[in-house]
C-alpha cells in the first residue's frame, strides 16, 4: 500500500492505519487515547486529519490506509478540527498545572501549547469529580483532570489481564473508577500512571517530591526478576526519586512491574547500612572501613589457615551483579574453598555437573509471541514473573495454547488451554503423565520408568498442544527449580522437549540466575544446602538475608549462629543480621554501582551507577577486590567493573555463549516420583514483595494486598478433615520451628496441602519450602 502523508510517500502493509504510516514517515499527529500497545479507541479525537476526498476529518489512529490515499496532517481542515477538540478537552480541565505532578511531562499541557487558545470561551462552572482511594501506589486524587482517554481501562483489560478500572456513568459525568471503593491490585498497575496522558493517575510515593524538570534521567537495569527490564532512573540531589520503564521491545516492551517501579523507596530507607559494623562485646558497632577490612582479613586468614579452606562457605544472592558473583567465587576459591553458591532457595542439586551448558530460558523473550504452544511447570507465574506472564497473556489471546502445571490454582489471568494443579509431591508424576501422553501421541517408546504412568485427559490435552504446535516451549518456573526433585523435573521436561520438539528452559528466579552460572558462582564443594547442613566455621554472605532467602531458614540460621565468623556484605542494617553477623560491610545497591545482569535469555545488560553510594557504602565489586588484595589472592588487580566483566565475558557480546539446558544421566524417574507421602505438605510461594532485599523495604509496596502477612491457606475439604474452620488461629509446625497463623479457606490450594509463604519474617521460623508440615488449632 502506498500512502502520501503531507507530501511524503510511505509504503505500509495492508491493514496499517494512518497513524502507523505517519510514524513511519516521521509526521507527528497529536493524540491522547492512541497507544501502540493498546486497542484502538478513537475516542479523544485529537488525531483528526484531512484525507483527500473525505468530507470530514478522520481519526488517524483508526482509519485504515487505502492505496493511493493522500493525508494532510496540518491542513487547515485538520488543524481546525484538532483545535476544536483541544478546546473541548480543556473546558472542564482544571487550570492547576502549577501544582499538578504531571506538569512538565503532560501530553495535554504540551499539546495545549500548540493547539489551545489563549483564553477560554467556556464561562460555565467546571466539572467536579470526586477523588478515589485505590491503594498505596496510584493516586486518583485529582480526577477532574481526567480526559477519558480510557488508556488505563484498556491497559487493565488487555495488558494486566484484569479489569480493575472502568468508566462508570455516561455523558460528561463519565468517570474512571474501581468497583465501589476497591483498590487496584494488579502487579503491573504502575504502568497506568505512565499511560495516563494527564495528571489524573499519579504515583502516590512520588507525589509532590519533585518537578519533572528537576530530575536527571539515567539508564539502568532491573535487579529484580530474570527478565532484566530496562529502567530509567530519575534522580535529584543524588537521590533516586522515581523509576520508569525504558522501552526495549525485546525485553520489557514499554512496561515494568510495580516491584521494579516502586522498590526504589528502599534505596532511601533509614534501614540502609551507611558504615561498616563489627561485633564488639556482643553488639554491632560502627567502625572505619580500614578497621573492618583489617578485621575481616585477619579473621578469614586465621580460620582458613587453621581449619583449611573448606571451613569457609560463601553464599550470594542471585540478584547480585555478575562482577560481584565472579569476584566472590574467585575470592572464596582463592582462600581454598569450593563452597560457593548463588542459589539459596534451591534444594536439589543433583543435576549439578550433569548440565550441558548454562541453564537458560531456551528461547528469546521476543520469540514467545510466535509460539503455538507453551507449558509452564511449577510457577506462581503472575507474582514470580509479571512481565513474562504478560507476554504469555498476549500469546494466549492470539492462537497460542498456554498451559500451566503447578502447585496452586492461582489465576494467571491468561486464557489458558489447560491447567493442572497438583500437590508439590505430585508435580514430577504429573509432568511424567504429560511426557507419557506425548510419547503415546508420537508413537514413541516411553522413557524407562514411565511405563506405569497413566495420563489424564488434561495431561493429554497439554501434550497434544505441544505435539501439534509447530513451535512450542516448556518453561520451568521457580517452584520447579526450588522443588526437592528439581533434577527429575528437569529431566522430564527435557524428555518432553525431545518428544515434541518444543524448547525447554528455566524462567529463572532472579536478575542474575543465568549470570551466576556464567560467573562460575557454582559449587565445586558444598552447595547452598550442604553449606548449612554441614555447618562451616566462617561464612561470607553477599546481598542476602538467609532467614528469608534460603530454602530452609531454620537450618541456615542454626549454622550461622554456631559459626565463628559471619561476614555480610549488604546494603541494609536491619533484619535478623544482628543475631548472627559478626561484620557488616555496606555495599551499594544497583543504583549506586556499575555492574552486569544476564537475563533469562542470556542477554548481557551492563549498567552504571546512577547516584553516588550512600554514606560510606561502596560498590560490592570494589569491596571484594580490596578483600582479595588484602588476602593476597592473586588476580585481583582491577581498576573498573568493566575489567572484571571482560574477564568473564568476551567483550561486546550481546548474549552469553554456552547456553544450553541439556541434562545427562539424570533418570526420568525415581521411586519418589511414584510414591507420594501421606500427611500434609507445604506449598510455599515467595510473595512478590518479599522476594528481594529492596522490595522488602519499599514502604508503599509493603502496604499493598500482595504484601499482606502470610496465612495458612487450605482448601475447604482439607480444612474440614483437619477439623479447622476458615479464620481459625492455627499453630503451624515444621521441624523445630512453629508459627501461629490464621487459617484461610482457599480453593486454589490442592487437597492435603497447606500454603504458607516463605521469605517472610512471620514464617521464617519454619523449615523447608516443601515437604511435611503440621497444622493444628492454636
Amino acid at each position: 500500500m502506498e500512502i502520501e502523508i503531507d507530501g511524503k510517500i510511505a509504503q505500509v502493509p495492508d491493514g496499517s492505519t494512518i497513524m502507523d504510516a505517519a510514524q513511519q514517515v516521521g509526521a507527528y499527529i497529536p493524540h491522547f487515547c492512541y497507544h501502540k500497545k493498546l486497542s484502538i479507541a478513537a475516542n479523544c479525537r485529537m488525531c483528526l486529519v484531512q484525507v483527500e476526498k473525505a468530507p470530514k476529518p478522520l481519526p488517524a489512529c483508526a482509519t485504515p490506509v487505502t492505496n493511493g490515499m493522500k493525508v494532510f496532517t496540518h491542513s487547515e481542515l485538520a488543524v481546525t478540527a484538532q483545535k476544536g477538540v483541544m478546546e473541548f478537552l480543556l473546558i472542564n480541565h482544571p487550570l492547576d498545572c502549577p501544582i499538578c505532578d504531571q506538569g512538565g511531562e503532560c501530553q495535554l499541557q504540551d499539546l495545549a501549547v500548540g493547539y489551545g487558545g489563549s483564553a477560554s470561551r467556556f464561562q460555565e462552572g467546571k466539572r467536579v469529580v470526586f477523588h478515589k482511594d485505590v491503594g498505596p501506589l496510584i493516586s486518583m486524587q485529582e480526577m477532574a483532570r481526567c480526559i477519558h482517554c480510557t488508556r488505563c481501562v484498556r491497559f487493565g483489560q488487555e495488558i494486566a489481564g484484569v479489569m480493575e478500572l472502568g468508566m462508570a456513568n455516561r455523558n460528561m459525568h463519565a468517570e474512571i473508577m474501581t468497583f465501589v471503593g476497591r483498590s487496584i491490585d494488579s502487579e503491573l498497575s504502575g504502568n497506568m500512571i505512565d499511560l495516563c496522558p494527564v495528571g489524573a493517575l499519579t504515583s502516590k510515593p512520588f507525589r509532590y517530591s519533585a518537578r519533572s524538570w528537576e530530575l536527571a534521567r539515567r539508564k539502568s537495569v532491573s535487579p529484580h526478576d530474570s527478565i532484566g527490564a530496562n529502567l530509567t532512573v530519575q534522580i535529584k540531589n543524588n537521590a533516586v526519586m522515581r523509576v520508569l520503564p525504558r522501552e526495549n521491545e525485546e525485553v520489557n516492551e514499554c512496561w515494568i512491574s510495580d516491584k521494579e517501579r516502586f522498590s526504589y523507596e528502599a534505596l532511601n530507607s533509614p534501614a540502609r547500612l551507611k558504615r561498616p559494623m563489627i561485633r564488639v562485646d556482643g553488639t554491632l558497632r560502627e567502625v572505619e572501613w580500614n578497621v573492618a577490612l583489617d578485621y575481616v582479613t585477619h579473621a578469614l586468614k586465621d580460620i582458613t589457615g587453621s581449619h583449611g579452606g573448606e571451613s569457609l562457605a560463601s553464599l550470594a544472592s542471585p540478584h547480585a551483579t555478575l562482577e560481584e558473583l565472579y569476584l566472590l567465587q574467585k575470592l572464596t576459591r582463592g582462600l581454598g574453598s569450593g563452597s560457593i553458591d548463588f542459589r539459596p532457595r534451591r534444594r536439589d542439586f543433583s543435576a549439578d555437573g550433569k548440565l550441558g551448558g548454562t541453564p537458560w530460558l531456551g528461547l528469546r523473550l521476543s520469540e514467545i509471541k510466535d509460539l503455538d504452544a507453551a507449558l509452564v511447570v511449577g510457577s506462581f507465574l503472575r507474582k514470580d514473573h509479571p512481565l513474562f506472564a504478560q507476554r504469555l497473556r498476549q500469546l494466549g489471546k492470539k492462537w497460542g495454547k498456554v498451559s500451566l502445571l503447578s502447585v496452586s490454582g492461582d489465576d494467571p489471568l491468561i486464557n489458558l488451554h489447560a491447567q493442572l494443579t497438583v500437590s508439590p509431591a505430585e508435580l514430577p508424576s504429573a509432568l511424567a503423565k504429560i511426557v507419557k501422553a506425548a510419547a503415546q501421541l508420537k508413537s514413541e517408546t516411553v522413557a524407562q520408568g514411565l511405563e506405569s504412568v497413566a495420563p489424564c485427559s488434561t495431561s493429554r490435552a497439554i501434550a497434544a498442544s505441544l505435539v501439534e504446535g509447530e513451535k512450542g516451549a516448556i518453561f520451568l518456573g521457580n517452584v520447579a527449580e526450588q522443588h526437592p526433585q528439581a533434577a527429575q523435573l528437569h529431566a522430564l521436561a527435557s524428555e518432553l522437549s525431545r518428544l515434541t520438539g518444543a524448547s525447554c528452559g528455566f524462567i529463572g528466579e532472579a536478575a542474575n540466575s543465568v549470570g551466576g552460572h556464567v560467573a562460575k558462582a557454582t559449587p565445586t564443594a558444598l552447595n547452598a544446602h550442604e553449606m548449612f547442613a554441614q555447618p562451616r566455621r566462617a561464612y561470607l554472605l553477599h546481598g542476602i538475608e538467609p532467614e528469608l532467602d534460603c530454602h530452609d531458614p531454620q537450618q541456615a540460621l542454626a549454622a550461622l549462629k554456631q559459626a565463628a565468623l559471619v561476614v555480610m556484605l549488604t546494603p541494609f542494617a536491619d533484619g535478623a543480621c544482628a543475631e548472627y553477623a559478626d561484620v557488616l560491610l555496606p555495599i551499594a545497591p544497583y543504583t549506586e554501582t556499575s555492574g552486569t545482569f544476564v537475563n533469562c535469555e542470556g542477554r548481557v545488560q551492563s549498567f552504571n551507577g546512577v547516584v553516588r553510594p550512600l554514606g560510606e557504602a561502596r560498590p560490592g565489586w570494589k569491596v571484594l577486590r580490596v578483600l582479595g588484595s588484602l588476602l593476597a589472592v592473586p588476580g585481583f588487580e582491577y581498576d573498573s567493573s568493566e575489567q572484571v566483566r571482560d574477564e568473564v565475558l568476551p567483550a561486546g557480546e550481546d548474549f552469553v555463549a554456552g547456553l544450553g539446558n541439556e541434562v545427562t544421566s539424570v533418570p526420568c524417574v525415581s521411586w519418589s516420583l511414584i510414591s507420594v507421602p501421606g500427611g500434609l505438605q507445604r506449598v510455599a510461594e515467595v510473595p512478590i514483595y518479599s522476594a528481594d532485599l529492596l522490595a522488602r523495604r519499599a514502604a508503599a509496596l509493603q502496604k499493598t494486598h500482595d504484601a499482606l502477612p502470610p496465612s495458612a491457606r487450605i482448601c475447604s475439604e482439607t480444612l474440614q478433615a483437619l477439623a479447622l474452620s476458615d479464620g481459625a488461629s492455627v499453630r503451624v509446625r515444621q521441624g523445630n520451628g512453629e508459627v501461629v497463623l490464621t487459617a484461610k479457606a482457599d480453593p486454589t490450594v490442592p487437597a492435603g496441602c497447606v500454603r504458607v509463604a516463605a521469605a517472610h519474617v512471620s514464617t521464617a521460623a519454619l523449615g523447608e519450602m516443601f515437604g511435611a508440615i503440621n497444622v493444628e488449632r492454636a
Binding site: 484502538i40 479507541a41 478513537a42 475516542n43 479523544c44 479525537r45 485529537m46 483528526l48 468530507p55 470530514k56 476529518p57 481519526p59 483508526a62 485504515p64 478540527a81 476544536g84 477538540v85 478546546e87 473541548f88 478537552l89 473546558i91 472542564n92 470561551r121 467556556f122 460555565e124 480526559i147 477519558h148 468508566m167 456513568n169 455516561r170 455523558n171 460528561m172 459525568h173 463519565a174
Partner: protein, 442 residues
C-alpha cells in the same frame, strides 16, 4: 387501536381486535406465506435480495439507507456465525411507530427477520427492544414462543434445512443504543458506546461476526414486499421512495398517533388526518423526522410531501418519520433547551466533542432560556456545533448540533429577543395554555 389512520395500508391493514398480534390472526391475514413460499419453492438468496432492491425499501430507522444494498454487503458465503439484528430501541423523541408495530403486528417482524436471515445466511437473530416499553418486550417473547411452536423459528424451518433462532433482548434506558454499533455493544453486555467504523457490522458485528441491523419497520415490510413483489411495493410509494411508511405525529395536533401513508403524501394531508392543530391555532414549526432532524418553519413544511427527497429539499430529514408539530404557543428557546438537555444527557461520554460539547450547548441554551444569555451566545453556539459536527464517533454529535443550528437559523429573532429582553416573545400564559394539560381529558 393506535394506528389511527391510513392510506393504502399494508402493515396496519386489518389490525382489528385484541388478538391481531397473535400468530393465528397473522396467518389469517396472509402471514408467513412469504417465508413459506421462499422456503418451499426453494428460492435463492439472490431472489430475495433482488426483490428488496427492486422495492427501493429505504431503512425506516432514520438514515434511509437502501435495505437491499445493505443486505448485499453481507458476506453470505462466510462460513461462521452470522447475525441479523432488529433495532427496536425506539427512543428518538417523537418516534413511537415500532412500539405499535410490535404491539399489533409482531409476527410481521419475526417473518421479516427470518426472510432476512435466509437471504444473508444467518442462523441467529436478536430483537433489541426499548427498555421502557416492557409490555411490548413481553408480548414479543410470547410471539416468539408462538412462532417457535409453529415451526417458523428453530431448526430446519418448514423442513427446508434452514435454521433460524430469534431472541428478544431488552434495553434499560439509553437512547444511544438505537445507534447500531452501540446496540451491538449493548447486546454483548457492555455499555452502549458506539464503535468506530470501519469496520462495519457487515464484516465485524455482533461478537465480531458479520451482522446486519435493520429497523423494526424495515423488517416488518419484508413479508409485504415478497408477497407483492418488489416493483408493486415501490409503486405504492413514489420513485426512489418505495412503499408506505408509518408516521408518528405528536405535539400540538388533535389526534396524535401513528398513520400509515404512501411515501410522497403531502404533509397537509397527514396533518388533516391527525385532526389538524389543536384549538384551531396556527402551525409554527415542525420537526419532520424525529428530534435529531432540523426544524422546518410552517410555510416550508406545508409545501412538503412526506418522503425522503422532499423533506431533504426543505433542509431537513425524513428520519424515522416522527413528526413533532409545534403551534404558535411554543417557545422555541424552551423547545431547544429541552432537546439540548436530552442530547447532553444521552451522550455516551466516549468521545470528546460529544461528551464535552453537548453539555456546553445545553448550558448556553439554558442560560439564554433563563434570561442570562449574552450577546455573543448565538455565535458561540454556532461555533460549538461546528466543532462537534463530523468529528464524533457516531451521529449523536450531529444529532445534537442540527437542532441547535436549525432553531437558531429559523428562529433567530426569537433567540435574540430572549437574550436582549431576558424573556420570551410568546407570553408565559400563552405557553401554559398551549400544553392543554389542565384542560385535557383522557
Amino acid at each position: 387501536m393506535a394506528i389511527l389512520g391510513a392510506i393504502n395500508p399494508m402493515l396496519s391493514l386489518d389490525l382489528d381486535g385484541d388478538n391481531a398480534w397473535r400468530l393465528a390472526d397473522y396467518v389469517k391475514r396472509g402471514g408467513y406465506t412469504a417465508l413459506r413460499r421462499i422456503l418451499e419453492e426453494k428460492q435463492t438468496q439472490e431472489f430475495v435480495i433482488n426483490e428488496v432492491k427492486k422495492s427501493v425499501l429505504r431503512g425506516r430507522g432514520g438514515a434511509g439507507f437502501p435495505t437491499g444494498l445493505k443486505w448485499s454487503f453481507m458476506p453470505r458465503s462466510f462460513p461462521g456465525d452470522k447475525y441479523v439484528v432488529c433495532n427496536s430501541d425506539e427512543g428518538e423523541p417523537g418516534t413511537f411507530k415500532d412500539r405499535d408495530i410490535l404491539r399489533y403486528n409482531p409476527h410481521a417482524v419475526i417473518e421479516g427477520m427470518a426472510i432476512a436471515a435466509f437471504a444473508m445466511g444467518a442462523s441467529r437473530g436478536y430483537n433489541y427492544i426499548h427498555g421502557e416499553v416492557w409490555d411490548i418486550y413481553e408480548r414479543f417473547e410470547e410471539a416468539l414462543d408462538e412462532a417457535r411452536a409453529a415451526g417458523f423459528l428453530g431448526s430446519n424451518l418448514l423442513g427446508s434445512g434452514f435454521d433460524f433462532e430469534l431472541f428478544a433482548h431488552h434495553g434499560y434506558g439509553a437512547y444511544i443504543c438505537g445507534e447500531e454499533t452501540a446496540l451491538l455493544e449493548s447486546i454483548e453486555g457492555k455499555k452502549g458506546q458506539p464503535r468506530f467504523k470501519p469496520p462495519f457490522p457487515a464484516s465485524f458485528g455482533l461478537y465480531g461476526k458479520p451482522t446486519t441491523i435493520n429497523n423494526t419497520e424495515t423488517f416488518a415490510s419484508i413479508p409485504y414486499i415478497i408477497n407483492l413483489g418488489g416493483e408493486t411495493y415501490l409503486d405504492a410509494g413514489k420513485a426512489n421512495n418505495g412503499g408506505t411508511k408509518l408516521f408518528s405525529i405528536s405535539g400540538h395536533v388533535n389526534r396524535p398517533g401513528n398513520y400509515e401513508i404512501p411515501l410522497g403524501t403531502p404533509f397537509a394531508t397527514l396533518l388533516d388526518m391527525a385532526g389538524g392543530i389543536r384549538g384551531g391555532r396556527q402551525l409554527k414549526a415542525c420537526i419532520p423526522g424525529g428530534s435529531s432532524s432540523p426544524v422546518v418553519p410552517a410555510t416550508a413544511m406545508m409545501e412538503c410531501t412526506m418522503d425522503y427527497d422532499s423533506i431533504s429539499k426543505a433542509g431537513s430529514m425524513l428520519g424515522s418519520g416522527a413528526v413533532i408539530v409545534m403551534d404558535e404557543t411554543t417557545c422555541m428557546v424552551k423547545a431547544l433547551e429541552r432537546l439540548s438537555f436530552f442530547y447532553y444527557e444521552e451522550s455516551c461520554g466516549q468521545c470528546t466533542p460529544c461528551r464535552e460539547g453537548t453539555n456546553w450547548l445545553y448550558r448556553v441554551v439554558h442560560r439564554i432560556e433563563t434570561g442570562r444569555g449574552r450577546a455573543d451566545d448565538l455565535d458561540l453556539l454556532s461555533s460549538v456545533t461546528t466543532n462537534i459536527m463530523g468529528r464524533t464517533i457516531c451521529a449523536l454529535g450531529d444529532a445534537a448540533s442540527m437542532p441547535v443550528q436549525s432553531f437558531i437559523k429559523h428562529f433567530h429573532d426569537e433567540f435574540a429577543y430572549h437574550i436582549e429582553h431576558k424573556k420570551c416573545l410568546v407570553p408565559v400564559e400563552v405557553q401554559r395554555a398551549g400544553s392543554g394539560f389542565f384542560t385535557a381529558t383522557a
